[in-house]
């Protein structure tokens, strides 16, 4: 994907907030990457680390990534469930995402339809 440009866009949003609040530097940024967003967490974090070097107010900023488990609705019995995704350093390996071969905890059906999960959200900024 374009994790680098996503990280760049996120930093622009943070800079605007910094100006808005009259703060000078960013200490912490929390970003939520939905499990179905297609964004590779490692690449996003890498993009942030590279780009922050060229922005003085980001020098000491720490990026926190929230990686929530995916939610599904079972098309057989209607139950809504959240199942863990095996996210790891091998997230770049596309097979690891589908390898969960998820089943409904109630009726064991594999007909699980994803609920949301594509979101990319700037959650919180700490600044001073």
């Amino acid at each position: 994907m374009h994790e680098m440009s996503l990280a760049h866009g996120m930093m622009q949003q943070v800079l605007a907030l910094l100006r808005e609040h009259g703060a000078e530097r960013v200490t912490d940024v929390t970003v939520l990457l939905g499990p179905f967003s297609g964004v590779v967490a490692e690449s996003f974090a890498f993009g942030f680390e590279v780009l922050k070097k060229s922005e003085t107010c980001f020098q000491d900023a720490t990026l926190h990534l929230e990686l929530p488990d995916p939610h599904y609705r079972c098309l057989e019995c209607g139950v809504e469930t959240s199942l863990p995704l095996t996210r790891s350093a091998t997230f770049l390996d596309p097979d690891c995402e589908t390898s969960t071969s998820s089943r409904c905890p109630v009726c064991a059906s594999t007909r699980l339809s994803p609920l949301g999960g594509a979101e990319l959200i700037l959650q919180q900024v700490r600044m001073e």
């Binding site: 994907m1 374009h2 996503l6 866009g9 996120m10 949003q13 907030l17 609040h21 703060a23 200490t27 970003v31 179905f36 967003s37 297609g38 964004v39 098309l75 596309p94 097979d95 995402e97 589908t98 071969s101 594999t110 007909r111 699980l112 339809s113 994803p114 594509a118 979101e119 990319l120 959200i121 700037l122 959650q123 919180q124 900024v125 700490r126 600044m127 001073e128």
Partner: protein
């Protein structure tokens, strides 16, 4: 310990820290423009489809054959996205349909602001005439376009037989974001190691209610189901 004089007193903390809860989409600017595009498209009288696939999966050929079947019945407009060149838009114009070429100059996807520009050009070309269907052919890429809402009503992902049936597994985010999957160039099934059932179940594993239609646009196979799908999108 105090840094200035070395005394044992802790420095008085000057707490300037601010915590701002934002909860804003990273792609907020794109998403807002996409919503505006959707309203714009509806004002033009149309339903819009965003076609996503690898390069060469048959998007332009599908559009040519679709226009062939619907011209005279429906008013169609096309926005073509490509890295360079007007070639695809020219192929569409040859079919007698207004087509706008957006060139990204190397950019790997279309975004909502680009499509917004395209909609205005399309409107200008149609001289106030209403549209029924607007097709947006995205830049050939199975990864990046997935994250960008363009203001479409339906997202169609194409997978051609020569690409192999494991594509849905390899690009799950893109297939999950689709409203319809088209398996294209099915006339080539006898010559490739492509298992239609396997591809369909790979798609269903990602999103069980995602419809899959097989077709070969250039041979006219499976086109009726696709045309029916399009007609069902129109307000009656």
């Amino acid at each position: 310990m105090c840094d200035s004089c070395g005394c044992q007193q802790d420095p008085v903390p000057i707490n300037k820290e601010k915590v701002v809860d934002v909860h804003e989409q990273l792609l907020a600017a794109n998403n807002e423009q996409a919503s505006a595009n959707r309203r714009h498209i509806e004002k033009m009288g149309a339903v819009a489809l965003n076609l996503i696939s690898s390069p060469g999966s048959g998007k332009t050929s599908l559009l040519e054959q679709t226009i062939e079947r619907l011209k005279g019945r429906l008013s169609i407009g096309v926005i073509e996205g490509d890295l360079e060149t007007e070639r695809d838009a020219e192929r569409i114009r040859k079919k007698g349909v207004p087509a706008v070429q957006l060139t990204t100059g190397g950019g790997c996807h279309l975004d909502a602001p680009m499509v917004h520009g395209g909609l205005h050009v399309l409107e200008h070309m149609a001289k106030g005439k209403k549209f029924d269907l607007i097709f947006i052919e995205n830049v050939g890429n199975l990864v990046c376009p997935a994250a960008f809402d363009l203001g479409e009503h339906r997202r169609v992902v194409l997978l051609s037989v020569p690409e192999g049936s494991d594509k849905p597994e390899k690009y799950p985010a893109t297939f999950r974001s689709a409203d319809l999957v088209l398996v294209t160039k099915t006339d080539l099934l006898p010559y490739f190691d492509f298992n239609l059932e396997e591809a369909t179940s790979a798609v269903k594993l990602l999103k069980p209610d995602l419809p899959v239609l097989p077709l070969a646009a250039e041979k006219g196979e499976g086109m009726d189901a696709w045309i029916d799908y399009l007609l069902a999108l129109l307000p009656r």
